[in-house]
Each structure stands twice: as C-alpha cells, then as structure tokens.
Subunit: 923 residues, 2 copies
C-alpha cells in the first residue's frame, strides 16, 4: 500500500525526462536549465523522503505482508503473527495497525487520521473477503480479537478484547450458525465485559459481581452452569451498567466498536504505568504500540475446543519438552483468571492426541525458526489448532543457561550466539539461592543496603562473631549483623548464612570476605543501627532482638523480618561445558582470590585457572593463630620474634601444602603480609584482658601498644612492604614457609607448583629490590636444605600511583605485576573505600559520577595509571606477566581495556569467576 | 721542586724529535713509525701523569713558592701563608710539608719516605739561609713553630708546637741573644709542655700541676712572677715527667723534635675525633693534612711584644671595623688559656699606635684580597708586626647577611656572589632568636624531636589550649605541650611561645600552624608522653608538671628543663635590600600561606608578593565561630543551614576585608572550605556538653553525629569539593563573602584585589564545572547588587593523582592550578603524613629513602604527576597560572624543576619566604 522509495524515484525520473523532452522538442533548444532543475527536485525529494513526511505512511499491514524483522513497525506480536503467517502456520487471519499510526494518533492530540481509518476499512474488507464473512453482518458475521502489541511487551498496556463484532443482531447469527445459543451469548457477555473494562475503564469487579449475583440468585456454582437465557439476563444488566456509569449504550455499531478499541490501545501507550515502566527499562517513548486485529477462533466452542499457553522447553529448569497448561472449553482470559484450574499440557495428549502432536510439531518448528525457546498461545476450535501468538519465552537464569547449551548442542545456535545470550547476572542468579517471588511480593523489606554478595538466606540474628559462633555450635542457622566487620570477625563470618552491616561499601571488609566465601551479604544499610551491648538492632522505629529470624536477600540488598521461603533449586548446572566454551573465546585467564582450602576448592569448581591473590594474613585470623601473631607484634626483641616466627612458619607451611594440594598445580600468587599491624590487635577491654593472659603482659601494656600502632589514615600507613622493611624476619619466614611447602609438595605430588610470591604496596624499586634479595637468600637456603630447587617468581602488587609512575624501574627487579585496583582507586581518587558510599551516592545523585569506581574500573583516571605502568613495565621487560586483582576489572566496560593491554589474567572472588569468564568471552 | 706538566711535555717533545731526527738522518728514510710511537708515548705519559704516580711528588713547598689556590696541597693555613708571603705581607718565613706527604706517610704504615725527609732538610737549610740562623746551632739558633693545617679546619687535629728547636744548648744561646734569660727558659718550658702534650699525648694538667706546685711553694701568684731560675726548676721537673711517663728523655736533637712533631700531625689525621667530624661533615678521608713549619716570632719578648686575634669586621653583628683581642707579652696559647683576660683590639691604638695602624691596613688589604671578612692571627715582636694566619672568619647568620651586603655595597663582590654566600639556613637563623651557645653546651636536652619551626623560647608548660590561654591571660609566657594538636587548639597555639608535641611529622598540624605563625616548635618527640588529665609529661624517667619552666629550641629540635638564656639580637636585618636583589634573579614569585591579618602582615614584611593559600576554615577555629560552625554542621534542614550561613557570611566578609586591607592589592588565593566536617566537632564529653548547650541539642545527639561523621581514612574522605557538592550553600556563602568584601574594598580603597577563588580536592572536570557554575551565579548576584563588577579568577588545587591525569579536562574550566604537594605526596606515595615519621625513619635507616618526601619534593614520583598536569593543563590553556603550595617545593633540589616548568609562584609559610626567595635566586 506504500509507494516505495524505488517506485517514487522511477516515477520522478521518468516524468521529469518526459517534461524535459517535451520542452526541448517544443523550443527546439537543448536547455541545460532543466537538467539542473531536475536534479534539484530529485535531491529535495530524497531529503523530504528521509524526513518521512512526504510519502504516505504505512498505517495498516495484513499479516501476510509482514515478517519478523518488522518489530519496530508492527510490534513484537504483530511481527511474529506475520512471520508465522508467512511460514504457513495455522494463524487466524488478520492485520496489524502499525506503531506509525499510533504515533500519528498521539501526535495529533488523539485524532485518528482519516487515511488510517480508510486503510483499516480496506483491511477489514480484505479480511472479509478471505474469511468469506462480513463484519457486522447479521449473516455469517466476522468476529475479531483486538490486541495491543508494542516492540517490547510491557505491563499496563491495554491487552485484549475478544469477540469484537458481536452486537444484538450478530449474536443471533452466531447462535444460529454455531447451533449453540449459550455459546453465542457467553461470547457476547464476554465482549461487553472486556470492552467495558478495557475501553471504558469500568471496574471489572462490577461486571463480575453481576455474574456472581446472578449465579447466587439462581443457586448456580460455575459459569458453565449458566444457560443462554441466563447470559441474556446478565447482558441486560451489563448494558444498564454502561448507561449508569458511562451515560451511553454499549456501541452496537461494529465499526465504532473497532475504532474505540483501537484508540483505547493507542491511548494506553501513554498511561502512567506504561510510562514508568519505559523509564525504568530505558525504552524509548517514541516507539508507540501496534494493534492486531485478528479473526476470532473460539476455544469455548464445545468440548473439542480449548485454549492454552505452551513453552517449547521448561522455562524454570530449561529441560527439553513441551511445558504449559490449557483449559478445554474456555476463552483466553479464563486461563489467567484462576477460576478453573488449568491442566498440564501433557494431558492434551489424551484429550486431543492429534492436536497435541500438531502442537508439538509447531513448537519445534517455531523454536527452530526463532532459534530460541518459544512461549506460544494457542486455541483449539472444534478440534482445529490455531496459533495466536509466539514469542521468545521468559525463563529463569538456570533455564537460560541449560537451554542455550542444549540449543548449541542441537546445532541451532553457534557458540558465539550462546555466549551472547547469557548475561553476567544470569550466572550470578543461577549460582545462588533466591527467595520465592510470591513471598517477596507479599513482604515489605525492613531495611535495604548494598547487594554486596548475592544469594538468599534465612537465619537467627547475632551481633557479635563470638555469639554467632556459639549459636552455630548449638545448631542454629546464623545471620551476623554488625556495624561493620573487622578481620577478627572472620570465624563468625565463616559460619554465618548471611552478613549484614550498617556501614561500608561494595568493597568493605564484610563485602569482600562475604563474596570470597560465597556468603550472602548486604552492607551499608544506612538506616540500620546496631547496639552490640544491648544486643538489639533498630531501623525505622522497629527493634529486632538477638535470635530473631531474618531473611536476607544479597542479590537485591533487602533484609526482611521473618522467614521467606527459598526457591527450590535442584538442577545441576552444566558449568564445565560452558567454561570450556568461554575459555576458548578469551586469552585472558581468570584466577581466584582465595586462601582457604574451601575457597580454593570452590574456585577450582567454578573454573579458576589459578589463584591470583592468596592473602597470607587471612591465615592469622583464626583465634589461636591470632593470639600467636599478637604475641609476635608485642614482642620486644628480635630473638622473641624469631622464636614465635618459627612456630608460625610451621603453621603456614602446612597451610600452603594443603592449598597447593587443592590448587592441583595451577599457578598461585601468594601475597606476603599486607595489613597494618594494629588490625591484628585487640580492640576492647575484654580482648585486652584475654590477649594479656596469653602473651603474659598486662592489659594496659597491650592497650598502649594498640594505641601506639593506631594510625590516622591506616590505608596510607605502616603496611605492605613497609612491614617487610621494618621486620624482614616476618617476610623471610613467609618465603621460607611458601618454598618449603613447595618443595615438599613436589616430593609428595611430583608436580611443580607455579608459586608466585607477591610483595604488596611497593612504591619504589629500591625497597622491592631489598626485599627480593632478603627473600632470595632464604629461598636458596631452603633449596639447599632439601637439595631440590623448584621454580618460583617474585613480583609485586601495583596499587600505589607512584608504583605506576616508576613501573619501569620496578620491572627491572619484578617478575610480574598484579594490579590492586581497590587500593589504586583509593589513592588515585583520594577516596577511601570505607568512607566512600556516602560520597559516591552524593555524586551519583548529582550526575557527577556515573559508576562507583570501586565496582567499575575508572578507566580515565585509574586506567591511565595502569596503562602507564603496563607500557613502562613491558618496555623494560616485554615478557612481564600482568594480572589484575579486583572485581572492578571484571566489568563489561573494562574488557576492551584488558584486551588492548594484553593482561594475562584477572583475579576475583570465587563466585565471581563464571561471570568474569563470560564477560571476557563476550568482550 | 716538582717538574711541571708543561716542562715534562716540552722535554718529551724535544727529546723525541731529536731521536726522530737522528734516526731519520742515520737511515736516510722518513719513518712514520716513529711519529706513531712518539704520540703513543706522549699519551701514555699524560695518562700516568694524571694518575700522579709517575712524577716526583711535591713533598715540601716553601711559602714563597705557593699561593692561595693550593689549599688541596698545602691545606688552608699553608695556602694562605704562601699567599700572604707572595703579596708581601709580614709573614715569618717557612715552608709547608704537603698533604701529599701526609697521605704517603699514612699509606706506608706510618713510615716517613726518605725523600720527604730529604726535602724537609733542604727546606730547613733554605730557611736557615734566609733567616741567617742555624737550626739546633748553639749560636743564633733557628726556632720554629709547627702547625697542622688541612684543607678544611677540623677539631681533634694536632694544633701547634711553638719554640721548636730549643734544647738545653740553644736555650742558652736564646738567653744570651735576647738578653733575657727568663724569656728563654719560659720559651723552653712552653716547648716541653706543648711537645709532651701534643707529640707524646701526655696530659697537659700534669704539666700545669708542676707549674702550680712550684708557684705555691714559692708563694707566687702569676706565671710572670716566675723567674728564670724558677723556670729552670720547672724544666727539670718536666724532664722527669717525660722519663717517668714515656720512659724517654725529651729529645735534645732538634731534627728529631721536628720529625716527631711532623709525624704526630700526620697521625692525628686519623684519630677518632677527626674521623667522626669528617664523616659528619662529608669531608673526604683522602685529603690529608699539611704541616706548616715557620720561623718563630715572640709575642712574649718584653712589653713591646704581644699576640692576638683580629676580625676585619664584627663576626656577631657584621658591623664594619676591626674586632678582636690581644695580650701583651704573651705567646699564642695564653690568649686561649684564659689565665689572663685579653684586651679589646681597640686599646692597641694606645698600646702600640703604629702597630695598630699597620694591622688595620693589613686587615683591610687582606679583606679586599680575599673579598671576605678575615680572621687573622698576629704577633708583635718588639714592636714589629707579624701575621701568622688569615682565613675567612666564622660569623653568625646575621653577620653573614650584613657583611655580604656591605661588601656588595663596597663593590668588593657582585650581586651573584652575595647570593651564593648566603645559605637558606642563615636566613632562618637570622630571623629567629637562639639560645646562648654556652648555655646549650652546659645543659643536656630533656627530649628531642623534629625541628618543626625554628627559633628559641622559654616559658611555662601547659597541656591544654584552654589552660594555656588562661595562663597567658595571667601574664605568663606559655609553652603548649600536647600529644598532638588539632584545629581546636588554635587559640592556645597562637598565644604560646613554643609548641611541643609527642606525635606528628614536619607537616603535622602543629608544625604547619607553628611555622605559619612563626612560633618555635618541636614535634614528634617519640620518647615524650603527655598525660593531659594528670597534667604531667614523662620522658626518660623524668616527670614535668604543669607550670614548670622549659626551654624549647625549634631550630635544633631540643627541649630543655629550666631556663636557657637567649642570645641578644638587636641588629635590624637589611631584608628589603636583600629581597630586591633576590627578586631580580628569579622569575618565580613567592607567596605566603596565611589567613590572619597578623600573618599576612608578617608575610608582606618578609617579602611575599601575594597570598598563595588562604585557608578559610582557619577562620572557624575561634571559639564563638566554631560553635556557630558546629551548629551549621548539626543543622537538620537547608533552612536552618541558610540562616546560620547568613551570620557566618557577614563574619567572613569582614575577615576578608581586613585581609585585603593588609595584603594591599597583592593577589590573594582563597581556598574554600576543605577539611572533613568531623574535624570541627567536639571530641570529649566536656566539649559535647558545651556544644550541646550552645546548639540546643543533647550531648548524646552531638556525640552520635560526631561518630556518624567519623571516617576510617579522613585524608581520603568527605572533604574539599565533596563538601561543596553535598552542601553547595556553604561554598556559595563563601564566594558571596569573598566577592562582597572585594567590591566593598574596591569602593573604600579604590584598588582592585586580585581575588583567586580556589576549589580544593578536585578529581574530575565535572565536579569543578558544577561548583564553578554555582559560584558564578552567586558572584553575578553580588556584582548586580553593588552594580560594580571586580576581577576574579576561579581555579583549583591539584592535590589528587586523578586531577593530574585529567588536568587537560579540568583546565578547560579552571583559571589556575595550585599544586598541593602535601596531599599529592600522600596519595602518590600511599603515605599518610600523620603516620609517616616512623616509616620514613625506617626507610632512611635502610637507605631506601634519601629524603622525607614531605620536605623535599619527590621529583620522580610526585614530580612526574605534576609535570603531566602542567603539560596537559597548558596544552589546553597556555596562559594557565600555576602555583605550588607546600614547602617541599622550596628546596634546592626542586628549583630546576620549578624553572623548567615555568611555575608562576610558590607559596609557603611567612617565615619561610626569605629562604624560598634565596633558593630561587640561587637556582
């Protein structure tokens, strides 16, 4: 119906040449002027065409003229109906009133352009021809359904009106033709009901009450008990309702019915709910919605009819095979209404075996055609199957994964397509438990914070690590809630189901540890305050006492009072297959930040290709070791220290051996002691006393030492390699333990460990060189003692701006660089991660920061320093191994950066590995 | 005696040409080969000559063969004696045994090379010829003095032996020739005494005891009462002492006397005291010392003889005119010994008018020759003046300045020489009071710390700012001693004579504020601990109570218990003249960090060309304002805040007007509020209560707010422009106050203020742009209100690495950059300045850090970022004004950097300005 650009061009060219020819012939002159004019006109036409105002727009398109590509014009539903028609599936015939028409209507102050009206009439006429029925005719009347269908489906839009075309006259014809008066009046009353509700915004409960009242009066139980006469009575009551509420009759004119329905759909594009939804999901307001007008087929036509929804695969688990439900003798809305319980699609095999087989075949074909799991609406009319809609089905994260892998195996999609279909969040969601959606809808959250570590957990609340541990020993499921956590809490954290804190950001201690352990966690709940002495927590005027049951959703950041049910989750995820594919797509390895046997095992299961950051200080947090370490800090002389270090060495050595064992020969980067010493010292009177007894000093002395070691800005203090410079014996002990374990493991397992010793917090080549030398001395002693050398590397963490600037000098001595993006971001930005959430919130509110630089690498600032470091480092040592520790790097926006600079690996907490692999494969 | 290089070359050239000529003549061929050989030989000779092993070394040089340039070879004393001889001054004749001889002796296990001995004998013979005397002869014997003299004079070296050449025989001759037996034996006993002490290391008190005993026995009061016979008796006793202690006689052989004396001088080069001194002062061990042998002249030869020391100008004040003292009838050591009180040089006018005039003339000539104030030793023998030594005189810092300026005015030195002669420390010292050296020698310091702010002060000690203020009101001179100071203490600091803290480095709060105010201060006294409750301080087992008197030396970092006298100091320094000269030499301006009227006035007096950093928050530290500011922080709503800001605005406006008034139209950079808000909040219960009463809230609420605002790493927290983003009304108020004051000042003074509004802590162009816009709005309102615009600039502090990296973006919106080197160093180095002293000490001890990066700009790291920022900034905006705030930049090592990058100004605390100017002029 639309003259295409090509036709128009042809027309202009031919006509202008004719004019030219005539003029030249008449004047007997060759007039260049005309050529010029001609081209000017041509260009002008092209420009105006581009602007789209010049030619007739496409207002209406029959199903048999469109295809699946035209979603923009026809909406998702319309495009798929056209596609199915094109492919010869049994689709009731009809046409789509386009989104262009919708936009025109809305732009012209809700005035329906006459040309649209004309085209609708032409389309109806064509439909009448095809169906051999007449719209509004008392003989063999054409009935249609009217449905909205935008490019993206969204809630709040007008949905469906069935049986349109019925009125007091045509209903008689339908009764006669179908031979079932009850059926005809049932359809008619449905039309009134839907039309009233959808077009005139009349409360659907008013209609339902009329039906209910009627049934009560006549002592009927179900709608199917209502006779034709019954429906007639109901219809009269409905008509009265129209007059009463809307001061008008239900329109008997079927054209008017259709136009009112179409306009109602158009208008609904701009209702509040749809607008909000679009804003939240970033959908453009200028898309508009289409309207699909389709010949009715009746699922409520005797017992050989029915209607239902079917998925080509299970949308919850991803399992192959049809999944869905249907109702016999019903129209579409009955399935949703919940008045009758639908049957599983499998029973259709018995009810209508042929139809089932046909449906199955169609599902398979549609899936093969769309190369994805389909969500299909169907209706059976007297044993004949019609497909009313198909679309890519919504599904759980797990199902997404399973389906994508199956489709790949079935050869339907390529590896690359598979990877593109899976989102990072899907893997996150798939790996962690979640609460039932119904329960979440019902309950309001008590407090909210940052979703620091995904998952869902229910447990009893405790306000100190010790109490949490005790409760756990009693067999309770525990949730640890603290103002903020400190390394001391590590045991309590390890046994908790969830961790909740009042302060701290996505990279606070609680967040980092929880993610590392795969424990669900919500941090930085600003409204929450915890009174550890009184053992209560307050928020929003509500007080929660120790032992109370809470539900924590680490995926959304919500905390609920009471218990929410967890979703069942039995599917084994085919991670290994996935990882193989992902790894093929990326040259950047993914390692884990892990130091316990458990974490390393998890990391290996989740596809880690090594350990990128093993924080040796975490080994000192267990109580007994902590006490020993405190004794070390409190020691007055080198001799005392060396004696304690001897014990600690044996402890660490055994740890390392166990770690190597589970890491199975994968490379492992072990970071020497990093945090400021005061982090290890006790913090309250009780702990002073306890420590005092253990180390044989007075509590006062210990308090004094703790105060003396306290720092104004601990982040910029006495930590990392600075400890190594001041107490070389500690670093030497660690190197000894690492290498003795490596040699002994080699003897036991006959497998080299790729040990990478990492010196943290370097700012200068000289300090690195000094420490390296001290370590090498000890390492050579170890090799000599065992008479067996093993390979090792010594490198450094690049986490201070100065180290980036002097990377060329440092690279002269370092075997590898590992960027610590958290610390580097803190210093480059002058922003403490502990204190940042408030500030970042402010900046985001004012649009001065797009993303939290601790979550997404700040490429302009921090990234520039990293580039400098990489370039300088590789200039000196082209083979320099370079890794990045910190989740900020594992973000879609940073992937290009990682690839451009040929980073060797990134390292993140174990549960983030699959996501990181996916991102790398996608990038 | 040494064949010079020139002679040697001539010799080689001639002899080789002769050989060549002979060979060519004999063979009748022109042999190129010989040319080649000749040149090879020539080069080889040059090389070996350079190594100094080939030719005969210079062992001995007579005074009349040397000059002042040969200090390396002859030592300072020898070179100057040679120079004076060359110029015809009345110098007793003699020769110098060179440093080369000394080194040869020491290298050969203290074996005196026979060739040295030979040369000494030749030199003695020459001296005998010139003086017509004979060394060791019983007739007319030659007597000499022997003195050490290295290139740099140093304590611990052997000094002087007079009258060498006397023995039992020659003393008779001396008695006869002089006609004064007592004089001869006095000389002889002096020789024995000095020889025994200097050469044989015999305790000088043993000799003195013998003299004292003799005088007691014969009831004599003074040495001059001892007769010739008396001295003979003493000499016998001395001889006995030699035998008793050293098992040998005093050497009667005069050659032996000379050699022993020379060897003793050589050996003393390597004694412990000299070695330590050299190590501390960076003097090379391979210089060696020379020995000067000089004919004796006698200051103890009757009443027309005498000896003394004279300075050509006053070494304490720099005043012109002779300054010095002398003793009639005395030998050198009598002046020093303190047995008789020397007379002022002025009385010599009466004693020996001719000699005085001659001495005056010689002093003037020597000063003119050496172009510097001279320290001259002289002896008068029977009315005849001899000059024994001259050297550039030591002087106080003040004298250095005055003398240099006078010499310049007298045309003796150039401006450039003047500038080179003055050291940064001199200016520092000259500007501040100091303790008497005698008192400092006697007393041992109680504790020591970092010399944070120079000067010396005595006062009574107080441990809190409030108590200090009260004591000051009572009229006491106060020393404030605290664990560390905080902005709250500002009032107490302002009235103190000195500030002492236990913690913090050279850039801690106490140090920065004290330097700014020119108050003497010692910080980071590690051994000191303060108990503010008990009002006592402990260190080294000593307890000092409130009110006790202490003396604080901020120049050395020492604190003394009790009172030390201050040096008198009445000279007015000719700073203005100096500054004019200095400013001519450098294109880099020097501004001050100052915000009070007093500081700005001081800064202007000390030559500031503007204010480079005016910290507006300092205006809030005065008690009443602090309370108001606390109320602002504790306000719940924007309305409350705006009401308080209205009051604060008027206060600040008046402040600014006063500041502009004293700054007299010089440019002034005003930094908007920078520190974290919690710095302003109270810190203990008492203060909570006080604040609570003022703001009308409960102490608990205030404590909660303080806790809520507390930060883990305040340095990286909610401060600077981040406050402006969160509370734009505060920054807007400040901009309004600044500009209203500027307009009103313009009306009153008819003089533009060059106001530069500085936004601190920028990390991104967007935040700067936003704040700039907010400020501009308010500024335009001000101009509109007064109907008078005035010029202004808006720029930013560059103090975060990210700001350096993104300087090009920021420069698009900023009118100027001012580097905050303290903060930039903290972040670039990952090193908190508050926590750094301990770490830096460690690093310096291990040689891993050469200088404290907070005191000397870390050019490699921090400097690289600054370079980046300057290049990026000027690329976008070539006219971008660039300054540096922070004393680290005003260091000799950084001057080249400042010049290379065309920094417009540096800004430092007022009392550092002269030093900074000097450094810039020198660079």
């Amino acid at each position: 119906m639309q003259p295409t650009f090509f036709y128009m061009c042809t027309y202009i060219i031919i006509t202008s040449h004719i004019i030219l020819f005539v003029v030249q012939y008449a004047t007997q002159k060759c007039i260049d002027f005309y050529y010029v004019t001609y081209y000017i006109v041509f260009v002008l036409i092209c420009v105006t065409y581009k602007k789209g105002d010049f030619f007739m727009k496409t207002w209406v398109l029959p199903f048999n003229k469109g295809n699946a590509e035209q979603k923009e014009l026809l909406g998702g539903k319309g495009a798929n109906l056209a596609e199915m028609t094109r492919l010869g599936f049994p689709v009731p015939q009809g046409f789509t009133i386009t989104t262009t028409a919708c936009l025109d209507y809305l732009e012209n102050q809700e005035y329906l352009n006459p040309s649209i009206l004309t085209e609708i009439n032409i389309a109806i006429a064509a439909l009448e021809d095809e169906t051999k029925k007449k719209f509004g005719n008392s003989q063999n009347p054409l009935l249609v359904s009217v449905r909205s269908g935008a490019k993206f489906s969204m809630p709040g839009m007008m949905d469906t009106i069935l049986n349109l075309g019925l009125n007091d006259e045509t209903v008689l014809s339908l009764a006669k033709d179908s031979g079932d008066e009850r059926f005809a009046y049932d359809c008619y009353r449905r039309l009134l009901q839907m039309f009233g509700n959808v077009v005139f915004d009349m409360d659907h409960q008013l209609f339902e009450k009329i039906v209910a009242d009627y049934k009560q009066t006549h002592q009927l139980v179900s709608d199917s008990d209502v006779t034709a006469d019954g429906w007639k009575e109901v219809i009269v009551a409905f008509k009265v309702l129209f007059v009463k509420l809307k001061q008008r009759d239900f329109p008997q004119n079927v054209e008017e019915q259709l136009l009112l329905a179409v306009e109602a759909v158009f208008k609904s594009w701009n209702n509040q709910r749809a607008k909000t939804y679009r804003r939240l999901h970033g959908i453009s307001d200028s898309l508009g919605t289409a309207v699909n007008v389709q010949e009715m087929v009746f699922g409520n036509f005797w017992d050989t009819s029915g209607t239902g929804v079917v998925f080509s695969r299970n949308p919850a688990t991803g399992e192959a095979g049809l999944f869905g439900e249907y109702l016999m003798n019903a129209q579409g809305e009955d399935v949703v209404a919940g008045i009758r319980t639908p049957k599983s699609i499998q029973t259709l095999k018995k009810d209508l075996p042929k139809v089932y087989l046909q449906l199955k075949e169609i599902c398979e074909k549609l899936e093969a055609h769309y190369k994805d799991m389909q969500d299909i609406e169907f209706t059976v009319e007297k044993g004949k199957l019609f497909i009313l809609q198909t679309r890519n089905g919504k599904r759980t994260a797990k199902a997404k994964l399973v389906i994508a892998l199956d489709l790949f195996k079935e050869g339907m999609i390529t590896e690359q397509e598979l990877i593109e279909r899976i989102e990072g969040n899907d893997l996150e969601e798939a790996l962690h438990p979640a609460f039932c959606k119904e329960d979440k809808k019902e309950k309001e959250s008590w407090v909210s914070g940052l979703p620091a570590s995904p998952g869902a957990a229910v447990g009893q609340i405790y306000f100190s690590a010790d109490q949490a541990v005790e409760a756990s020993k009693r067999g309770e499921k525990v949730i640890l809630m603290r103002a903020e956590t400190s390394p001391e809490d590590i045991e309590g954290m390890a046994i908790s189901e969830a961790i909740v804190t009042c302060r701290g950001g996505m990279t606070s201690h609680a967040a980092v540890v929880a993610r590392g352990m795969g424990i669900c966690s919500v941090v930085g709940c600003e409204n929450l305050s915890v009174d550890e002495k009184e053992r209560v927590a307050y928020a929003d005027g509500q007080v929660v006492k120790e032992g109370a049951v809470l539900s924590v959703d680490g995926t959304t950041g919500d905390v609920y009072i009471g218990e929410l049910r967890l979703e069942k989750n039995n599917t084994q995820l085919p991670l290994k297959e996935l990882f193989e594919m992902l790894d093929k797509q990326s040259s950047i390895a993914v390692r884990a930040n892990a130091e316990t046997e458990k974490d390393i095992t998890t990391a290996m299961e989740l596809g880690a290709t090594g350990i990128g950051l093993s924080r040796t200080e975490h080994m000192f947090f267990e109580k007994k070791r902590l006490m020993l370490f405190r004794k070390l800090i409190l020691a007055q002389t080198l001799e005392e220290r060396i004696a304690i270090l001897e014990t600690l060495k044996e402890v660490q050595k055994e740890d390392f051996k166990r770690m190597y064992y589970v890491a199975k020969g994968h490379p492992m980067t072990i970071r020497l002691l990093d945090p400021p010493l005061h982090e290890f010292l006790p913090k309250n009177e009780e702990e002073y006393q306890e420590t005092a007894e253990f180390v044989g000093k007075s509590a006062k002395e210990i308090k004094q030492k703790a105060n003396a070691l306290a720092e104004v800005n601990p982040m910029l203090g006495f930590r990392g390699v600075r400890l190594g410079v001041a107490y070389p014996e500690i670093y030497q002990m660690q190197a000894e333990a690492i290498m003795e374990a490596a040699v002994e493991s080699y003897f036991e397992l006959n497998n080299w460990m790729e040990v990478e010793i990492m010196i943290p917090f370097t700012t200068d080549a000289s300090e690195f060189q000094r420490i390296r030398q001290l370590l090498e001395e000890r390492i050579q002693e170890v090799f000599h003692k065992y008479n067996q050398p093993v390979p090792y590397m010594i490198g450094t963490m690049i986490e201070i701006p100065r180290a980036c600037i002097l990377a060329d000098e440092i690279a002269q001595y370092a075997d590898f660089f590992s960027f610590g993006t958290n610390d580097l971001t803190q210093m480059t930005y002058g922003l403490s991660r502990d204190d940042s959430p408030k500030i970042i919130n402010q900046y985001m509110t004012h649009g001065l920061m797009k993303e939290d630089p601790f979550q997404v690498l700040d490429e302009k600032g921090v990234g520039a320093l990293m580039k400098m470091a990489i370039e300088k480092g590789r200039k000196i040592k082209p083979e320099l191994k370079i890794g990045i520790c910190g989740e900020a790097a594992a973000h879609p926006d940073s992937i290009a950066f990682l690839k451009d600079y040929a980073i060797d690996y990134i390292s993140c907490s174990p549960y983030r590995i699959p996501q990181a692999k996916l991102l790398l494969a996608k990038g």
